[in-house]
Symmetry: D2
Subunit: 347 residues, 4 copies
């Protein structure tokens, strides 16, 4: 790759696409060349704001343009596989929005296509580029928290209801990608229970639990029905505890020097330690800008991005197992098993 | 029952017993006559503070004292059945701490003993006498919230670990009793998953889900491992939403005039209503004082208390089903079924 | 005035100017025609984002352009008078940033120039167009709060230090304009005390007090030296109390049904009423958009805007009196007096 | 002083007296022997709870009892001088509630009486024994905050209105004693402005400012008219900032590694540093228990307590100067001047 700017095209100008345009436009080392969308109406704001960017309603114009190095795809999930395969066939690097695909089968096909093409595949799990998420990861890596025992997450707000997939597939990718990034391991089993209250067939609230080989458990409450926006993940370690609150403007990460020291039956109350609370400064960088730059760097260096195809595939595997569990009334479903293979009850 | 003061004895002077002594002492219409505990040491503070109250290490002195009308029992769970049966056999009214018993079998035996004796049996589910809990119940009864869709609860803090039962049996009675009181129905199934991190066989964190005939779902995160004390229950109704926060000093109950109004595919974003937020004044009365007075009133009037034996039995049924679910890896266990009878997966 | 769009030019493209460009661009009924700034560098982002807007480094091009109906001025305070006079002489309507001027003399000259020209003069006291501020004003107008007793304001954050004026002139215009809008009266006296900690001659913290004919008192803590951003105004009325918090995302306005009911010496503790707390929904409209539309409407209808020249002049009068008080060690300075005329001590 | 327990009597059994009885009762090294109050009714709860403590309606019984070593006085302010003088004349050590007296003259007389008697005089400025206040003091002593620039305090709540003195004398002693303890210097001037809203002659809200030789300024908003209870003191230092919040259950003290680093005109925005936030663990000890023990230790060791007579006198001096300022409309009154001597305006 030369030192010239990476020429990027964006496919999909709905809710997220314009954010990709803006961030690649601002990122050093990249130029946004073209934007495609089926809807002329959605392209209008792009044209107005960035008169120099070419727009088109036919994404094939982008795929066939040899001047374009990379494609960022922000289209409905069910189109991801075809668009990714097309882009890789044309020799382009791909950033595709999360989740990578709606099925493990499609996700695997995309990963294989990237491997065959020898091109970079990155999945837009923006949160793993969020400075607060990184701050917690560093604390875990350094061993500050000790052995991770459990993670509890609240990710709820009022709306926005989707029509073609449920809240597990809408909000779940965030929790799963962050949790796998923090724990650095894949779950053993997934368990999801929930309810459909506004639409008859689409869950608007689910509770998801994942069990890990290390013994760690991760639980998440995901909901489109809540009185306020909550984005809180609590990490309980054997040494310290951390809370990551994505909604607050300050103190997004707090490390609690709290724990259970020892457990002698006759001195029960002394066993708890509630020490200092520390809130490390978290840079205010926009996560999507970090992500855009990481995509550019990964292409230039040829090293896989943090949220590469396999990371994206793991998330889809969890969601697919979770969907099976949901359908089966919340039984534990083995992480890598087909839906019909229900995991043996623990103990 | 004459207009004379009710003569109350308290059995058990550990953590909770002294609170019962203080509250019955302050309640009009009752006198605390005696306190029993196996440990002289635990009786010392009682003697010092209330020199006029008789103390004894033999609870049978209390049971056989015909001058005593009612007994409040705050002893370890496994002793509840024997003590209650003894008290009813002696013709006394009984207030017993929650949970009523450690098994459905014992709980049923206690309820039957009360019925045979024709005496009042009340279980110390203090939270159903908490003015904030009552405020939410009134809002539900009036239909302010519409149809209840789901309840999500966080009941976590650092410790206090127990040695003879897990966090489900320690904190669960609160959530179950409040939820059943609010919804006024019994669950269809119970599902519990969790982990043992500090002690090898005792869960210090569980997530419990209950499904109800009305379609409502209640979920609770119960934990002894958390960086801070959280006591928050969120009630999502089809019309409005409510949050009950037991930790905050003010605004313990908030009613959110929020909801999803209509769902036309082409006007998705307009479907959400975020209106006023109202925080009704909640009386600052101590819940245990309300409970003590309700016990006295129930005895005098001969009407069953809100948390009568059957209410207490229902809580034990849920906990027992929850224990089975926990053992089986979190499958749904039918509420009234024996542990081995696993509920049919939903849908 | 025809039904054609109002043709607006913006003078000053520093921190605030681009916000004016964006908001007039989005407001129905107005077109931004031109932007002037002495610095080509500051004009670049405007050119890039709005290629159709004419840019110039000579504001006289704007003043002499007969096609331009109105000018929005966002330049340093000391240039306000000359620019406003020039604009009015050219027959243009003017929106000028707050404070209207750095002295009462200049402010009066601007008001007179507007009157002579028969054109609309509006001062950019954006907060009086803030929906939360309007919500409190409505509550006061309806008498919900009763007689206003006092207002206490915290308006602090870390930086941004100015070099040519102090925190009183930087943050004070907000508090003064909001307070005068709410109370609908002019103060009798002003009292300011403060300190210079970072720069030797420029106060970075002041405490300002205003006394009003109605008996109301308004106090504000204004600071560039604080650990966090606080924007809270508390209004104490004889019937109810209100808190307006501009930093929070939800519940920006809370009305407390609290008060002191009666004061009989022998029943002191019963005299306090702490009732419901109500948080009315506040529209999320951007205040500057409301302001831009109000400017357009005022011009079209010929009626004076809420923050007209006289409103702006009153704010400058308060600030000038406050500066005198600051210089004199915090004595009460009569609101309409010349700086040397110190107010007689109260009582 | 022998190793025998100190025999303490409490004079005054109103609001605060019972707290003194309880704490001296619990403190090792002291026994509460007797309690006096003019009202038999107020003595009843003492008798009921502590049957072994002698009660009397004649405080002279206490003063003349040679078996009593120390007297804790919790009576109305205007009685402090006579009671203290009587106690010292009888050779007793004295803990007297704050403020030490209602006038500087009385306060000086008490200090002199203690000196003449060679007995310990301690004033009940409980907050200087509050572990959170001590934590901030330690941070200041270590130089963590750098040079203290200003302190801003909010000490407001709804009620409890007093009838014989205003909010300055009611809540002011807390702020003044804490501030003088933290800054370890006496103010140069005091400035107070305020209003009387509920009672015609008694201020229910005041704003007090103190200037110090070091250049530090301390400001406090004291009020009985507020929608909620706020107890927040913010300390701005040249290096770091601290917030002490007495209302919150956790994180009572936060240290902000925030500041203004340098101020070069062309790099203004880089001058602010917002670093980590640290919340040191604050012991949960009750301040009054610390105070009681410190009184006992001071008597035994013969060293003056932290809040000795002179500390109490300084507080009264500030309050008396503040009262003069309030009467004079808020001018700066020199700290050690007689009320009629108004300080020269600054600069």
């Amino acid at each position: 790759m030369s030192v010239e700017a990476l020429r990027v095209a964006v496919v999909g100008a709905g809710y997220w696409g314009p954010n990709l345009v803006r961030n690649f436009n601002e990122a050093p080392g990249a130029d946004v060349i073209a934007v495609a969308d089926l809807s002329r109406e959605r392209l209008q704001p792009i044209r107005k704001r960035y008169p120099s960017i070419r727009i088109t309603t036919d994404h094939r114009e982008i795929m066939s343009d040899r001047a374009i190095d990379a494609v960022a795809i922000a289209t409905p999930i069910k189109t991801h596989r075809a668009l990714c395969e097309e882009a890789f066939a044309a020799g382009k690097h791909v950033l595709v929005e999360k989740p990578l695909a709606g099925t493990v089968e499609d996700a695997e096909a995309i990963v294989r296509a990237a491997e065959r093409a020898g091109r970079t595949l990155m999945v837009g799990h923006t949160f793993v580029y969020n400075p607060a998420v990184t701050t917690v990861r560093r604390a875990i890596e350094r061993g500050d928290l000790g052995k991770i025992q459990y993670i509890d997450s609240q990710r709820v707000n009022l709306g926005l209801h989707q029509f073609d997939f449920n809240v597990l597939w809408d909000l779940g990718p965030h929790d799963v990608s962050i949790t796998l990034y923090w724990l650095d391991e894949e779950p053993t089993w997934v368990q999801v229970t929930g309810g459909c209250f506004v639409q008859s067939d689409i869950e608007d609230v689910v509770w998801m639990t994942m069990g890990f080989p290390s013994g760690a458990i991760a639980h998440a409450h995901l909901s489109w029905l809540a009185p306020g926006k909550i984005r809180t993940m609590t990490v309980i370690g054997s040494k310290q505890m951390a809370v990551y609150d994505d909604v607050t403007a300050v103190e997004k990460v707090k490390i609690f020097d709290h724990g259970v020291e020892r457990l002698e039956p006759d001195e029960l109350r002394r066993a708890y330690r509630a020490g200092d609370i520390h809130s490390p400064r978290v840079p205010v960088t926009e996560a999507l800008q970090v992500e855009a730059r990481h995509f550019i760097d990964s292409i230039r260096s040829g090293t896989p991005p943090i949220s590469d195809g396999n990371a994206g595939l793991r998330v889809v595997r969890v969601l697919e197992a979770g969907s099976s569990s949901l359908r089966l009334g919340g039984v534990r479903v083995a992480y890598d098993a087909a839906p019909e293979k229900v995991a043996t009850p623990a103990k």
